[in-house]
Amino acid sequence: MKTRTMTVAAALFALSAPALTAGGADDDNLTINGNIEMTTKAEPAAHLDGALPEVISGWHFRSDETQELEMDDFDNPGMIFVDQAREAWNTAEGSEGKSCADCHNEPESMAGVRTVYPKWNEEAGEVRTIQMQMNDCRENRMGAEPWKYDASAAINMEALISSVSRGMPMDVATDGPAQETWEQGKEIYYTRYGKLELACASCHELNYGNYIRADHLSQGHTNGFPTYRLKNAKLNGQHSRFKGCVRDTRAETFSPGSPEFVALELYVASRGNGLSVEGPSVRN
């Protein structure tokens, strides 16, 4: 009886495999503009404790057509928003009449910054995301209004800052003063929220490589953020992505910029330590 069912199941699986199992991660290589070599598969960080045998960028789970869009800045629609942010970088705003460029010179001076955020800020006594740090500059050095979390002005600037670190490995700190926030993020990652009782881990740790309806599940890393999504034709922030994923568990979500999502951002970033910064990446 049991053997019979298993044989039938195996036969059916073989039949349906070519159509459904377009495979887990593919073996393509990612080079951007012909000269930025990207690390898209990396050794897992020790803290993952075997939870992932290999850390794989979300790029590997997308179709060839979507992947190609990320390989050249002329094809990457996200770069249009990076250009807009370059303009904003040089534009004076607020009561002090200062621009980002007045304090930081060229955006290229930000190379490496994206790899270590979210990061502990000693003076503020908290873990901060890039957006929190940008708003600190706006409010306290420029006398300008803070940007709304994950709104286009903030996300475009985050994409500019990310773009100058492309190819550098993600390397957020999980210990020292950041440890408590990191642990909070870890707890959120493994909590099964909502009426569907699904955790981040249910989809991105236990089921990456599988299709959930039409979506090919990745490991849910954040090295590609901000991501240009073909679905909504704009750049998307990490917290908005988290919110969408939590909503899909039929749960009450947290808000972009909330302490919960800041902690989750740190933890998820640490799972992808070693992967190249890709933002702005292209996803569907």
């Binding site: 699986f13 349906s16 459904l20 909502g194 009426k195 569907l196 009782e197 009450e252």
Partner: protein, 158 residues
């Protein structure tokens, strides 16, 4: 005003009682997670079950499970096992238990519990991202579970 509401609630309750519907918290699971008695006392409708299985706002089972007879439903998922032939090797009672609360059969499974109202963390109002207003409703109604079980029972090897 308040009185009318209460009368209405009482009437609805009475109607439910006429079909002897089992409330989510009162479902009796066997040692291996099977549920012996029908949740409604009413026969399940396999055609309705097929629709619930395939519709996102209802069971959305197809997001995780593939079934060959649903050739009109695109993009069947692969998070759960293919369910072809399930009516052959699972009893009605086992299927009822799995669909009502799969965690009683498969400990810790990612498969959601479809007939359950307590023990959730931050339950939402459908896919809105907002908090669910109490009382918390199960994802599917008792008769939906019976319809699904009736559909699954039809999945036999040729």
């Amino acid at each position: 005003m308040r009185f009318t509401g209460m009368t209405l609630a009482a009437a609805v309750l009475a109607a439910g009682a006429a079909y002897a519907e089992t409330a989510p918290d009162d479902v009796q699971f066997g040692e291996y997670g099977a549920v012996e008695a029908s949740l409604t006392g009413q026969e399940g409708d396999p055609e309705k079950g097929r629709e619930i299985f395939s519709t996102k706002s209802m069971g959305n089972c197809v997001s995780c499970h593939a079934v060959s007879v649903l050739e009109d439903v695109p993009f069947q998922g692969e998070v759960g096992p293919v369910l072809d032939g399930i009516g052959e090797y699972r009893t009605t009672e086992e299927l009822r238990g799995i669909v009502a609360n799969a965690k009683m059969t498969f400990e810790g499974t990612v498969m959601p519990a479809f007939y359950k109202t307590s023990g959730f963390i931050r339950p939402g109002d459908g896919y809105t991202g907002k908090a669910a207003e109490p009382p918390i409703e199960p994802i599917l109604a008792a008769q939906d579970i019976e319809d699904l079980v009736a559909f699954l029972t039809t999945l036999k090897d040729e």
